[in-house]
């Protein structure tokens, strides 16, 4: 697929294969013909022939070498021209009778090879073909100045060049089709892999949350007079478990709220803190917790070492997105340089912790002047974090990559290339038969003995091409029976043509069949091993040789001409057969592997990207509310005996339950999430009636969050009875909860985040309060066009 002008794997590899192949083919032919020509040339012509052939051979060698070490294109082109021009011009000086035929073959195959070699730059290929043709004509004129140059070989060359270009274009089109379809399927598979990875992390995240924060908060919210000594360490553990999860630092937390939770210590060790905090100080939870933990450690240090019981805690915003926290005391002070290394309180808890999250902490103290600790943190926007962009570090699950997928891709690419190759062979059959062969058959009707047999053989070959073409164009394989019959017909046509041709005409201008039969066989056998094709070609050559011998043994010179003609047609056909096999057996798997590698990389990138944003989204929803609660509980600042704290825990617990229910595969996810909240409330002894009216429809997950949240909040604050309803009207969904709030107005307002999230503009929440009754209704106007109603 040409994405942004880039060629796909199959196309790239096809181009490379045909280029290498073209160079090898041409070099082999030039060397072979050059050698034969020298052997047969008159002794007097050898020096002149050598002077023409030597540069051609040298240029061929250089060109072969350039396959490994790329040279400038202009130089390559010159080399190619230097091969074909002397070959064409060598006609008069090369060996005897076969010279004409041999040079024709060499130049003819060269100009075909150029079309492969310069497949990606057709203009260069055509220019080389023109140069070759011109040289050939010039050589012809030079060798026999008496008569006009023969046009027929030139036309044949033109047809062959056109066919090779067309052949390349067809195969390339199939390769592109393969790439395109591979890209589409890869994209689908990638989506599936990404989705699977996201689900896996989501499950893991939810499991952690369930085992830690959710369990703790629900226990607190249900709690009555119990022993709570287990709570602070448990809350701190939960917090650590949450912080250890990837992406946690992307959540946002209010540092001001955290700092108000800094424990002052008990009894003798208590430090009275004077706080001046300019809140709120929203910041990522990672650095926020690092500062909080550092401050906590520093306060303990005051009580242990400073010899005073008072300290001042200040926090303010610096610049647009910086935060500064300062803790100072008027105690004994110390010399920071003389603190032993093994004392980790300052180096680890305060300085090291801040460095790990990209902030700084500094301690200013001198004996007798008190101590000042300062924490600074600046949001550097999208500054790269450790682990960001390094896939292994995030522990992103690897996409499942199976051998099966790989073989399927290879099979598909191979199928496309095979189809292309067969189309090319079919095209060559038809064009060749109706141009070169037909002209010869018509022009030499009087030569054949009898003529009708030749015509019948021609019709038979046409029938074979049409039969095979009919299967192929309908996208079907040629059935083995049909293939057998067709091959038989092809060989029969070859035999009929060979034996009804008078002596001396074999492979000559009157022999229309010899050069075309091989193409039919190639078209029929393209999907089998090249050995089979070689055997059929051998049979074809054998039949013709036998007929020549039957007509009377040829002279050596005649045999040489016959041999050159055989190499020129059957050799080229075999060479093309080998190229096709190479494309199918080597290029296709290579393209498949390359595609698989690229695909895996792309999938990993996408998974990484998604996991990052998923984490961000999840933590944004949680850290602002849950983290301060856990911090407060963990450090004893919030007491589980406080009814208000228990209510907050209940609300957060219900919110988490809703989050857990979010991933359930159910027909009516909204109702499912509501039930999750209702269950939490019922567990705490609240009688909840849940009623639904109307036809349920689809609601996006973000909207569901906002619709259910008021229910979670109200149910979390209700201790007696509540009614939850869902009403589906054609234009809206209305989720309502009526409860009895046991706390007063002020605290209720604080439990409802006023600045929660970028709320969906189509979701509106109305709250009505009458006595103790609280009625909250969230409604979402459904887009009219959206929505397949659920059954």
């Amino acid at each position: 697929m040409r994405i942004g002008g880039q060629e796909g794997n199959s196309e790239r590899l096809v181009n490379r294969t045909v280029e290498r192949y073209g160079v090898w083919l041409r070099s082999a032919v030039v060397l072979l013909c050059g050698a034969l020509g020298l052997v047969w040339a008159d002794a007097s012509d050898v020096p002149r022939a050598l002077s023409l052939l030597a540069p051609a051979v040298l240029a061929s060698g250089l060109r072969l070498w350039a396959l490994r070490r790329p040279l400038p294109l202009a130089l390559l082109w010159t080399l190619d021209a230097a091969v074909v021009t002397p070959m064409g011009l060598a006609q008069p000086v090369l060996g005897g009778e076969g010279a004409n035929a041999m040079v024709e073959v060499a130049v003819g195959i060269s100009v075909i090879a150029f079309q492969f070699e310069w497949a990606t730059r057709p203009a260069a290929g055509v220019a080389l073909a023109v140069a070759g043709g011109a040289a050939c004509v010039l050589g012809d004129i030079l060798s026999s100045p008496a008569h006009d140059p023969d046009v027929v070989p030139l036309v044949r060359m033109l047809i062959q060049v056109g066919l090779s270009r067309a052949g390349y274009l067809i195969v390339r089109a199939r390769a592109r089709a393969a790439d395109r379809s591979a890209a589409v399927r890869a994209a689908l598979r990638r989506e599936a892999d990404v989705a699977a990875a996201r689900r896996a992390t989501e499950r893991e995240y939810l499991a952690t949350l369930h085992d830690t924060a959710s369990a703790t908060l629900l226990m607190v919210s249900q709690g009555d007079s119990r022993d709570w000594s287990w709570l602070p360490p448990r809350a701190r553990q939960d917090l650590e478990a949450l912080s250890a999860m990837p992406g946690f630092e992307t959540g946002s937390v209010d540092l001001a709220a955290l700092l108000r939770c800094v424990p002052e210590g008990e009894g003798q060790a208590r430090v009275r803190l004077t706080t001046h905090i300019e809140g709120p100080l929203a910041m990522p939870s990672g650095p926020g917790l690092a500062i909080f933990n550092g401050v906590r450690e520093a306060v303990t240090n005051v009580s242990r070492h400073a010899g005073v019981r008072e300290a001042e805690l200040r926090a303010w915003r610096e610049g647009a997105n910086g935060v500064v926290v300062e803790l100072s005391d008027a105690g004994g002070g110390f010399d920071p340089d003389s603190v032993p290394v093994r004392r980790r309180g300052i180096s680890g808890s305060i300085v090291g912790r801040m460095r790990a999250v990209g902030g700084t902490a500094s301690i200013t103290s001198r004996p007798g002047t008190g101590t000042r600790v300062e924490w600074r943190w600046h949001d550097r926007g999208r500054a790269p974090r450790t682990g960001d962009g390094v896939l292994q570090a995030t522990g992103a699950p690897c996409p499942p990559r199976g051998q099966a997928q790989h073989t399927a891709a290879v099979r598909f690419i191979r199928g496309q290339l095979l189809y292309g190759s067969q189309l090319v062979a079919l095209l060559i059959c038809l064009v060749w038969q109706f141009t070169i062969s037909l002209r010869r058959l018509v022009a030499h009707q009087d030569v054949y003995q009898p003529a009708w047999a030749q015509t019948a053989a021609f019709v038979c070959l046409v029938a074979v091409a049409v039969t095979g073409g009919a299967h192929l164009l309908r996208g079907r394989r040629i059935p083995p029976g049909v293939r057998g019959w067709c091959l038989g017909s092809v060989l029969a046509a070859s035999a009929v043509s060979a034996y009804t041709l008078p002596a001396g005409h074999s492979t000559g201008p009157a022999d229309w069949a010899f050069g075309v039969v091989g193409w039919h066989a190639l078209f029929l056998l393209a999907d089998l091993r090249v050995r089979v094709y070689a055997a059929i070609l051998g049979a074809h050559i054998g039949i013709n040789s036998a007929s020549v011998v039957w007509h009377g043994a040829p002279t050596a010179a005649e045999a040489a001409v016959l041999g050159i003609a055989t190499v020129g047609s059957c050799g080229l056909q075999l060479a093309i057969g080998v190229l096709m096999t190479h494309l199918l057996r080597d290029t296709a798997p290579a393209a498949g592997s390359a595609a698989a590698r690229e695909e895996e990389l792309r999938t990993r990138e996408r998974i990484h990207e998604h996991l990052q944003s998923d984490h961000k989204e999840r933590y944004r929803a949680l850290t602002a509310t849950t983290v301060p609660l856990l911090v407060g509980l963990g450090h004893g600042v919030l007491s589980p005996h406080d009814e208000e704290v228990r209510l907050r825990c209940g609300v957060e617990g219900a919110r988490m339950r809703r989050l857990f229910a979010e991933g359930d595969a159910v027909a009516d996810p909204l109702l499912n999430e509501l039930r999750a909240c209702v269950e939490v409330a019922e567990h705490q002894g609240v009688t909840v009636s849940l009623a639904v009216r109307g036809r349920p429809g689809e609601v996006p997950v973000e909207v569901r969050r906002e619709l259910v949240d008021p229910v979670a909040v109200t149910l979390g604050r209700t201790r007696s009875a509540a009614r939850v309803t869902v009403v589906w009207t054609p234009g809206a969904v209305r989720v309502s909860v009526v409860g009895v709030d046991c706390a007063d107005d002020r605290t209720e307002a604080s439990a409802v985040p006023a600045h929660s999230r970028a709320a969906d503009p189509h979701v509106s929440v109305v709250r009505t309060r009458r006595g103790e009754s609280v009625w909250a209704e969230a409604s979402w106007s459904r887009p009219v066009s959206s929505g397949v109603d659920l059954p």
């Binding site: 009636s689 009623a691 009216r693 109307g694 036809r695 009614r723 309803t725 009403v727 589906w728 009207t729 054609p730 209305r734 309502s736 009526v738 109305v766 009505t768 009458r770 009754s773 009625w775 209704e777």
Partner: protein, 218 residues
């Protein structure tokens, strides 16, 4: 509108606990409600003394798989005032009962709050709209439903949501009386499009007479 004359009721329900609960709620009614007959079969409503009762309280699920819609239809055709009292809490059942000509439709969870009022309203041939029924009417999407104003639909839905006319009134900034008149008007619109029945005739006639609806509205 209402008077203090005792109301006689026949209760048809196959669950003894429900029967005793219903009798207890009636016992606490300020206006006397006398259960003249009770039983698990609809025969009670056709034989004396049940055949003369002012109101029939009918459970739809009488030990059979299918709801007793045909019994309801025969009772309505005989000119009886029927309060359907059902475990079923879906809007389809509620709408079908109204179509068949029931005076009102109550779910069992609403019994304690609404059964006494609903029975008295049926006896007086006044409209009565409990929340579950209001929810069903508010989301009714059938083609043959009567045309309701958006305010009427809103009142229906909010009454269903909150089960408190005071909360609805406070939210909409209207009086409880106005809330009631919206609910009554909806009930009459439904009666008007329903099957010819005594309920329909009396409800519509009284509503027009009271000026609750305009004849042009219907």
């Amino acid at each position: 509108m209402s008077n203090d004359a005792p109301v006689s009721v026949v209760v048809i329900d196959d669950h003894p606990a429900i029967l005793s609960g219903v009798e207890m709620w009636y016992g606490a009614s300020p206006r006397p409600i006398i259960v003249v007959a009770a039983g698990a079969s609809v025969r009670e409503a056709w034989t004396a003394p049940g055949s003369a009762a002012d109101v029939v309280v009918l459970d739809l699920q009488l030990g059979e798989a299918v709801p007793a819609f045909s019994s309801l239809r025969r009772l309505v055709d005989a000119g009886r005032q029927v309060v359907v009292y059902s475990m079923r809490d879906d809007e389809k059942t509620a709408l079908t009962c109204l179509d068949l000509g029931a005076a009102t439709f109550l779910t069992k969870s609403e019994g304690q709050e609404h059964l006494v009022e609903a029975t008295l309203a049926a006896a007086d041939e006044r409209p009565y709209m409990p929340p579950a029924l209001a929810g069903a009417l508010g989301t009714n999407a059938r083609a043959d439903r009567p045309q309701l104003s958006s305010r009427e639909e809103n009142v229906l839905i909010e009454w269903f949501q909150s089960e408190s006319k005071e909360l609805v009134a406070q939210r909409l900034g209207i009086s409880v009386r106005t809330v009631n008149s919206y609910l009554d008007r909806v009930r009459i619109k439904y009666a008007n499009v329903g099957r010819p029945a005594r309920t329909k005739a009396s409800l519509v006639a009284r509503a027009v007479q009271d000026g609750l609806v305009d004849v042009d509205d219907l």
